[in-house]
Symmetry: C2
DNA sequence: TTAAATTTGAAACGTTCATTTCATTTAAAA
DNA sequence: TTTTAAATGAAATGAACGTTTCAAATTTAA
């Protein structure tokens, strides 16, 4: 009976993510989204609600993609040390391939609106909790295998690593010198060994 | 002959800084600035040019204030270790006193617009260069005094510390647990000793 | 083939945006 | 006291904002 969606939802989210990532939430207009997605205004509102709810869907899509890419690499690592190094190397790779110097979309939106918009605060909190939990998991394993020291608890190291990743992403906005970034990563990780 | 400014320029910049800091550049409207400064629209345009030039003046004011506060504390420190610890402790203090969870204004505006607005890119680049240079200076002294190790160059450690400060500020937006933050700082600094 | 429901397109909604205009007020130098 | 130019206030500018409306087109199941 009803006509069904003709556009590819993921493709639309992908294109919306590009423009949101580049310009930020407040810097992106509905017209930008119309242009970026090649969708009609009404279709956007019909299918995604409002600008804010669309942004939240874009964020989820962005994070799911990120998680997927990381998991794909992480299964290849043989121990905790390799896992952590893989995570940081992927971030360095993202920085270097980020021609627009946009930084991390999740870091950016936390900076832009976590203190203003409860739904974004909640999203970034969940993101933080998940990231710290999975880092803690890896650190724990590394400590049990005696690859990492026990000077701090796994949680404390996880918070440190989470914080360092955000710092790395912020630093990478202006500095894309690969040697600098790799030294930076090795300095960050040294405390674990 | 002419009437002179009746408002206190620094007071206006201070009030403008509060609202820009809270809402970000794109999130702050001219009406917000009129309300926050109690100045007339025309007076703002007469005295500060445009929204963007006003923002740049606010940023300079914000940074000058920050520099001043840090210098005031830094002169009290007896060696490089104390200097670095003072810097990080002041950041932790700022985070804990930041009831609105706004984060650092300079980190925020880099995230929001460094990739879009050349004047902001240039401002944040200069800020980054200055911060790294002064950190490098302190690390150098610490290395000469054999308080800090020489595993990495002073510049590499300075970049690491700069990056860590940004991570700390981003982490502090959602996490204001003082114990967590102090553990975080001590983990960050451990690599130097 | 018909009926149903949703997508789509284009236009319009009222609001807010940054900025400008201009007449009035003000205060300092002549 | 007069002159002068900037500060001020209030209103208006046109453009852009997010969102809604609604008729037309479309496609699927009955």
């Amino acid at each position: 009976m009803p006509k069904s969606e003709t556009f590819n939802r993921n493709e639309v989210l992908q294109n919306a993510a590009l423009i949101f990532h580049k310009k930020g939430y407040n810097g992106t207009s509905m017209q930008d989204l119309v242009d970026a997605t090649s969708l009609n205004r009404s279709s956007i509102y019909n299918s995604f609600g409002s600008k804010l709810t669309m942004f939240l869907k874009v964020l989820s899509y962005y994070q799911t993609n990120l998680d997927h890419n990381f998991s794909k690499e992480l299964v290849k690592s043989y121990n905790a040390k390799e896992s952590i190094e893989t995570i940081f190397n992927l971030h360095v790779e993202e920085i270097i391939n980020d021609d627009d110097r946009k930084g991390c979309m999740i870091v950016n939106c936390k900076s832009e609106m976590a203190n203003q918009e409860p739904s974004i605060k909640s999203f970034t909190e969940k993101n933080q909790d998940k990231m710290i939990a999975s880092l803690e998991d890896i650190v724990s394993k590394g400590q049990m295998e005696k690859i990492f020291n026990q000077d701090q608890t796994a949680y404390q190291y996880a918070l440190y690593l989470f914080s360092s990743i955000q710092g790395l992403r912020m630093t990478g906005i202006l500095n894309k010198n690969e040697e600098d970034l790799q030294h930076l990563v090795s300095t960050i990780l040294k405390v674990l060994y």
